[in-house]
Amino acid sequence: MSVNQEWTPNIVAFCCNWCSYAGADLAGSGRMNYPANVKIIRIPCSCRLNPLFVLRAFQRGADGVILCGCHPGDCHYSTGNYYARRRMTMLFSMLDYLGIERGRTRVEWVSAAEGAKFAATMNDFVKTITDLGENKKLEDLRCKK
């Protein structure tokens, strides 16, 4: 599938519609480069991110999953990111407890004005995941056949 056969990480970024997706758009209009292995899925709010989706991404072959939402206090729905914050903290902690590399999951608050932050975050996250290497601990080999 890849252009070259060398391993490159596959990264899923969930972005809330109001802040981070707009931030990603701004990064685009500003022509701020970040690696192509980041693919964005638009969700209405960071609180829409079900931990199942994170696991699903790993199962299907993602090497890293990142959630971007409005900064705390700026949620379009007032409180969504506060719930997301607790949920993701608990999920990440659980994954860590099972020995899954901590770096594979991340939450970053990116506002609609922070195109540069979005690009920088993605560059940094891709680097982290590249350093961590392929996701082995939470992979489902059936999806790689």
């Binding site: 299907r60 072959g61 489902d140 059936r142 999806c143 056949k145």
Partner: protein, 336 residues
């Protein structure tokens, strides 16, 4: 009869494992189950009952059947290969050994299950007599002699020696290089085992009435409702049972295609044989009844009176809420 010092057992295992896969009761994370032997594993012949029965060697919990590979709008069909290598399963107890006969009746009768048949053909079963039967054992009710287990090879631990007797050609081949021993070397041990077996609390259960003739009577017995009330609907009894043989065929969508596999299923589950209209066993009463009716009535009425229970007692010790087949036999059987 052949013999082998228990001290030399690991060497013997090593020799087997050089040529074929060896499966034995090994301890992992505090539990003993049949698993692939290697030098680093701890074999536990002192443990009478593995958590799961030995049936997994022939009927694994999960088995791939076919893969549908998708490329755009094209589908490629790749059936899974059946077992094509010999293996040995060591340390099977008399009850589990009998369960293979019962499974054979299901999987080897027409239409023959190719996956099971291949594993059976390639497997050599080494059984081991039960030196210390437990209070949960009741195999004698089903004509099983814990002192005389079946299999390709039967084995007895006597003191520090292991005595082995080949019952089949496959067995013969496996142990032919071992030291010869007197044919009656294990007789004392057998006697001791039988003496304990006779004293077991459920040594003689009254199975009267569990047959095809009394099918409707048993089916309609009002006792089922109360018996099943505490049942959690989990699959513990089913999954530790050596004779339960139900499976579900499932499709896993991997994104690139479909992996079709089968896996153990339990009639205790609410979604067992779920159909488009729902289920024909809507409550736990029907599900609970199904499991025991199958073992004690339906199976024997179709299989020359052979019960689909071997008295291993796993369900007795593992049911989280103290429900089990003995309780059912007592509540519905001749002692009722």
């Amino acid at each position: 009869m052949k013999k082998l010092s228990l001290n030399a057992l690991n060497r013997f295992f090593g020799e087997i494992a050089e040529k074929q896969t060896l499966i034995a009761p090994i301890e992992r994370a505090g539990q003993v189950d049949f698993g692939v032997w290697s030098e680093s594993e701890t074999v536990r012949l002192d443990v009478l009952k593995t958590v799961k029965s030995a049936k997994g060697a022939f009927f694994p919990q999960v088995e791939d059947m076919v893969r549908f590979h998708m490329q755009g709008k094209n589908i490629e069909i790749n059936p899974s290969e059946v077992m094509n290598e010999d293996f040995v399963i060591f340390g099977v107890r008399a009850c589990d050994a009998r369960s293979f006969d019962l499974l054979d009746r299901v999987f080897l009768s027409d239409p023959v299950d190719p996956f099971y048949a291949a594993r059976r053909a390639h497997g050599t079963v080494v059984t081991l007599a039960c030196n210390e039967p437990e209070e949960t054992c009741f195999c004698s009710n089903f004509g099983i002699d814990a002192a005389e287990p079946a299999g390709d090879v039967s084995a007895w631990i006597v003191g520090e020696e292991l005595y082995l007797r080949a019952n089949t050609e496959k067995g013969e081949t496996l142990i032919k290089d071992l030291e010869d021993a007197a044919e009656d070397a294990a007789e004392e041990t057998k006697k001791a085992i039988r003496a304990v077996t006779e004293q077991l609390p459920f040594a003689s259960l009254n199975l009267e009435g569990f047959d095809g003739e009394h099918l409707m009577e048993k089916f309609n017995d009002p006792a089922w409702a109360e018996l099943s009330r505490a049942c959690l609907g989990c699959g513990t009894c089913t999954f530790v049972c050596p004779t339960c043989q139900c499976y579900d065929v499932r499709d896993f969508d991997s994104g690139n295609g479909i992996q079709r596999y089968r896996c153990w299923d339990s009639c205790m589950f609410s979604d067992f044989t779920l159909m488009a209209h729902g289920t024909n066993r809507p409550t736990q009463v029907e599900r609970f009844r199904q499991r025991f009716m199958h073992k004690l009535v339906y199976f024997p009425s179709n299989n020359d009176g052979l019960y689909s229970c071997v008295g291993c007692g796993r369900c007795l010790s593992k049911c989280p809420q103290g429900l089990n087949i003995v309780k059912v036999i007592k509540a519905l059987g001749g002692d009722k």
